[in-house]
Amino acid sequence: MSSAAPQTFSNSQADKTMLAVRDLFCERDDRVLFKNLDFDLPEGQVLQVQGSNGSGQTTLMRILCGLNDSYEGSIKWYGQEIEEQAASFFSSLLYIGHRVGVSKVLSPVENLRWSCSLKQAVSDEQIMAALKEVGLRGFEESPCYTLSAGQQQRASLARLIISPASLWVLDEPFTTLDSKGVAMLEKILQRQAQTGGSVMVTTHHSLSIAELTLLSLG
């Protein structure tokens, strides 16, 4: 069954629906965050989630990743419930949240060695190349507490370059980046969409990506 989720993907499958969300309802502390939420995420698309503060963007992202299970409704991964194919779903998923998942005492290389190897085998050359691409050359071995917030964010984003995951869920990845970093990330997102992967991203930036669609909350 799990073979339904391809590990490699091509443009010929670009019309296939990756995630199908139907009738999603979430309530937090007696407040309805969203209800009757429907959307599809096909392969090869960047879906930007927008909404005012407190409209539940982070909650939505966490629900999609399976970090939050207090919702009602259905979320299907290639037409099947996520629980039925958890291993395939989680190996195709890459999530970067508000807390970027970078340990401050470790260096970027050490961080990536661990967080990448939770999903796939990775070599030090790959890590070095990725860090160079996100502009952390020369900082590979310095502990992360010596880096700025933006640099830590970049270290975390280096995972996008290494990762073969077909679905990226990124919660506010642009916040601490400078304008160069924003352009870099846009390019990375575009490349993901063009190779048939897809991205869900929350941000208030207006992104210049061709494959972009918008989803508004609240």
């Binding site: 590990q7 490699t8 990743c65 399976g66 970090l67 939050n68 299970d69 207090s70 958890a86 291993a87 395939s88 779903f89 989680f90 190996s91 998923l93 999530y95 949240g97 508000h98 807390r99 970027v100 998942g101 970078v102 340990s103 401050k104 005492v105 470790l106 050490e110 060695r113 661990w114 967080s115 190897s117 939770l118 999903k119 796939q120 085998a121 070599s123 790959q126 502990p143 073969p164």
Partner: protein, 229 residues
């Protein structure tokens, strides 16, 4: 690009290595519980009596209770920084069974906080005038008992990882749960002192250890999912 998924054992080893690396970089987390243990033990003779006869009687209990407190205090660092910097979310979203990843974290934590305490215990036993024939049993019982405490403590820490201040609530939850280990640990030492075989107690602790190794990481994993929710 090689897009091969890692095996669970590789993820297990990577987690173990990473946690050990963090522990060696943040030396405080290793040294403080250890120092705490030594200081608490050395307070007892001052508070109770310097006479070696009376110390012999309480030595096993004092060491066991101090180990318990030290291990409880050290637990706090198990998931805290991972929770704060978001690494915990990455751990939970791994395609590998959470059981093994949590177990790896528990093992590395025990290696840096439990094992040193066990190794130094004969020295403290000597200072508390415990007869030397009981050293072996003491070390063995601690060797079996401290991992159980780490595993049980891990559940409680996982449940409270989202709380701001949790030092005391952790104690309230974990200390009552460690009663059985305390009982068997001290009984094992006591029976050696009465020149009986401690094997019965030690094998019981071994049973408890294997049960906790197979169940506690499951509970810890579930607790982490609840806390991160």
């Amino acid at each position: 690009m090689t897009e091969k998924q890692t095996t669970t054992s590789a993820a297990f080893l990577a987690t173990l290595k990473r946690d050990l690396l963090i522990a060696f970089k943040k030396k405080n987390d290793i040294v403080n519980p250890f120092m705490f243990f030594i200081i608490v033990v050395s307070l007892f003779p001052i508070g109770i009596s310097p006479e070696s006869d009376r110390l012999t009687e309480i030595a096993a209990g004092v060491i066991w209770i101090s180990v318990l407190l030290a291990s409880m205090l050290s637990m706090d660092s198990l998931y805290r920084s991972d929770f704060e910097d978001g690494s915990l979310e990455q751990l939970l979203l791994s395609p590998h069974p959470l059981f093994f990843l949590v177990l790896a974290k528990n093992i590395s934590h025990w290696l840096v906080s439990g094992l040193p305490v066990v190794l130094v215990s004969p020295l403290l036993a000597y200072m508390l005038a415990l007869p030397s024939e009981a050293y072996g049993t003491l070390v063995l019982s601690l060797l079996l008992g401290t991992p159980i405490m780490s595993l049980i403590g891990s559940i409680a820490v996982a449940l409270t990882v989202g709380l701001g201040s949790r030092g005391l609530i952790l104690a309230v939850i974990t200390l009552p749960m460690s009663v059985p280990i305390l009982i068997f640990g001290t009984l094992a030492v006591q029976s050696t002192l009465n020149s009986q075989s401690p094997l019965g107690y030690l094998s019981l602790m071994l049973v408890m250890l294997s049960v906790s190794v197979s169940l506690a990481p499951l509970a810890s994993g579930a607790a982490l999912k609840i806390s991160v929710n």
